[in-house]
Structure formats: structure tokens, C-alpha cells
Amino acid sequence: MTATVTKSARPGARPTRRLVGSTLASVLVLGAASAALAAAPAPPPEPLPVDQAFPITAAIERGKMVLRFDVQPGHYLYRDRFELAMGGHSLASLPLPRGRMKQDPNFGRVEVYEQPMQLSVPATQGAAGAAPEVKLVYQGCSELAGVCYPPVTRTFRPQADGKAVAPVETGATSFKAMFRKQVSQ
């Protein structure tokens, strides 16, 4: 009985070893490939849509137009690339808060906002006492994805009830009118 078992077990022994061997080899090859991929730098993440990278709301609070910029981690807005028009009138200087000075390899020292921030300006009344329309231009980049968003224009029509509103109109910005003073070469 024992001899019979030994005889019938022998022919299957080599294929079994081969099976184990080839499986081990496959695992090793795949493991090595995975390790090589893991060691290589991961590709940067896909950039977020600009309105997710920089969600902005506007509200009228105690006679002031308050714009809130919820700058997402890994993103930043340039302080010198803001433009604001209210009721069709462009505001010459904006009371922007201080940002963080960033040493940019291309632009030198630039001031940026990497955290949520807000901008408050006196709310001028529109026609017939209506809340004014606000047109905002801004530009920022994603440090995470290694890209920059083109300058964007967003229009807000907040009501006097203090409720924060999202932009009602979106659009690209003409470069002809933009960046006259900045982007020092």
C-alpha cells in the first residue's frame, strides 16, 4: 500500500515543483515591478477645476461687500493679480490683506494667499438702490499639480440680506487688458 502511494506520488512531484517555481517567479517579477513603480516619483495629481481650487462667495454685510476666498491646500492666489469692479466701476486700489511672501524661482519675491482669506470693500448701491454687481478677476496656481490657472473673471450679485452667494457668471479674461503692471521679467 505504502509502495503504491509512493509510486503514484512521484510522477506528480515534478509538475508540482514546477508550478510552485513558476508561481514564485511570477510573484517575484510582479513584486519587483511593483517595487520599481513604487520607488519612482508618483505623477502629480490632476488639477482641480478652478472653482473647486478657489471657491469664492460674496455677501453684503453691514454695508460692506465681503468676498471670501476658500483657497484649497496646495493652491495659491497672486496678490497682485486681483481686479475688482463694482457697479461697472473699477476699484483702483483694493484693501487686500497681507499674504505670504514666496520666493518664486521665476518671479522673485511675490505675495501669495495659500490660506482662506477675505476682502471687504464698501458696498456702493446700484441703480434704484439695488445691490451692485461685482466683477472679480484673479489668478492662481496649483503647487500640487505644478500648473497655473489662467486669469478668470467671476460675476456676483449678492443681495442686501447678508446671504453668501456663488458667482452667477463665469468667463475667461482677455490678456490685453490684464497684467499691465506686473509679471516682472
Partner: protein, 176 residues
């Protein structure tokens, strides 16, 4: 029983080998094309763009038959400016192997002129209207961000779409 078992083992060994090969091929393909997505660039390759000298618009077909690297950029885009010295170096190194860079600036002419001179750009720079940023959405750049680069083979096939930086080593690997 033993014979059937051996056949099963052989099938199993074969299946393992096929699975390993398939994993390798798929993994390799993913690795080589990571960060790229499908798109439609026919409009771009058929378009003409104003050149820096303000003369006649230059058709993209000018460089048909070359390994064409089309780079969308702007002076207001830091990462764009950062990768461009690599492009200057690559144009110099692989120009005689059929590489042709073309920079398409979505920007103002005066700013582009200044920067191109400062950097010593050794390949053609064309100017695009801001409306072209929307066109990039269908070419593999859904957020219309910069920099954005396409590599087009001499046969006119897009072999790489890169949202973000393209490095010198990656360009060099195309000519290895």
C-alpha cells in the same frame, strides 16, 4: 486522475504566465502614458497662429514629418517658465534628430517677446488668443491649465499629452 491533474497544472502554469505577461504589459502601458488622457488635436494641427514678428500666421503643418513638441505656455505661469530652459536644451541636443519644439504663448506679445529674448529661446514661438484655452479641454487638458504639452510623431499621431511639467530626461528618452 494523475494525468488530468498534470494537464490542469499545465493549464494553471500557462494561465499564470499569461496573467503575469498581461499585468506587465498593462502596467508598462499605464506607466508610459501616466498623466495623459485621450483628446482631439485635429483642429490644432490644422490651425495657423500669428508669429512673433507680426507677419503672416504660421500653419502648424509647417513642421509635418518632424517629432513635434507643442508647448502651450504664458509668461504669467511660473511652472511654464521653469520648464522652458529644458526645452531650449532639448532643441539644441535633438534638433538634428528630427525634434522640433513649437511654443504657443497664450499671452501678450510684448511680455512674450521680452521673456523669449531673456531666455534665448531657440525654437519658434507663436501667439494664441485666450479662446484657445477652451480648445485645450478636448485635447486632454480639461481644466485649461498651463503648461500643457503635446508630442506629435512624424506620422502626425499624438504620443504624449502632458498637463504640467515635461522634463528633459523624458524628452531625451524619446530619442534614445
Amino acid at each position: 486522475m494523475s494525468e488530468l491533474s498534470n494537464r490542469s497544472r499545465r493549464v494553471l502554469i500557462g494561465a499564470s504566465a499569461v496573467a503575469a505577461a498581461a499585468a506587465g504589459v498593462l502596467g508598462g502601458h499605464w506607466w508610459l502614458t501616466r498623466g495623459t488622457v485621450a483628446g482631439d488635436e485635429a483642429k490644432l494641427l490644422a490651425a495657423s497662429f500669428p508669429a512673433m514678428d507680426g507677419g503672416q500666421a504660421t500653419p502648424m503643418s509647417t513642421w509635418q514629418g518632424k517629432t513635434l513638441i507643442i508647448n502651450f505656455w504664458a509668461t504669467w505661469c511660473g511652472p511654464c517658465r521653469e520648464e522652458m530652459p529644458d526645452f531650449v536644451k532639448a532643441q539644441q541636443a535633438f534638433g538634428d534628430k528630427g525634434l522640433q519644439f513649437v511654443g504657443i504663448a497664450v499671452d501678450r506679445r510684448d511680455a512674450v517677446e521680452r521673456f523669449a529674448k531673456e531666455l534665448g529661446i531657440n525654437y519658434p514661438i507663436l501667439l494664441a488668443d485666450v479662446a484657445w484655452l477652451n480648445e485645450l479641454r478636448t485635447m486632454g487638458n480639461p481644466q485649461s491649465v498651463l503648461p500643457f504639452t503635446l508630442v506629435v510623431s512624424p506620422q502626425g499621431k499624438v504620443t504624449l499629452r502632458r498637463v504640467g511639467r515635461l522634463k528633459f530626461d523624458e524628452i531625451a528618452a524619446m530619442f534614445a
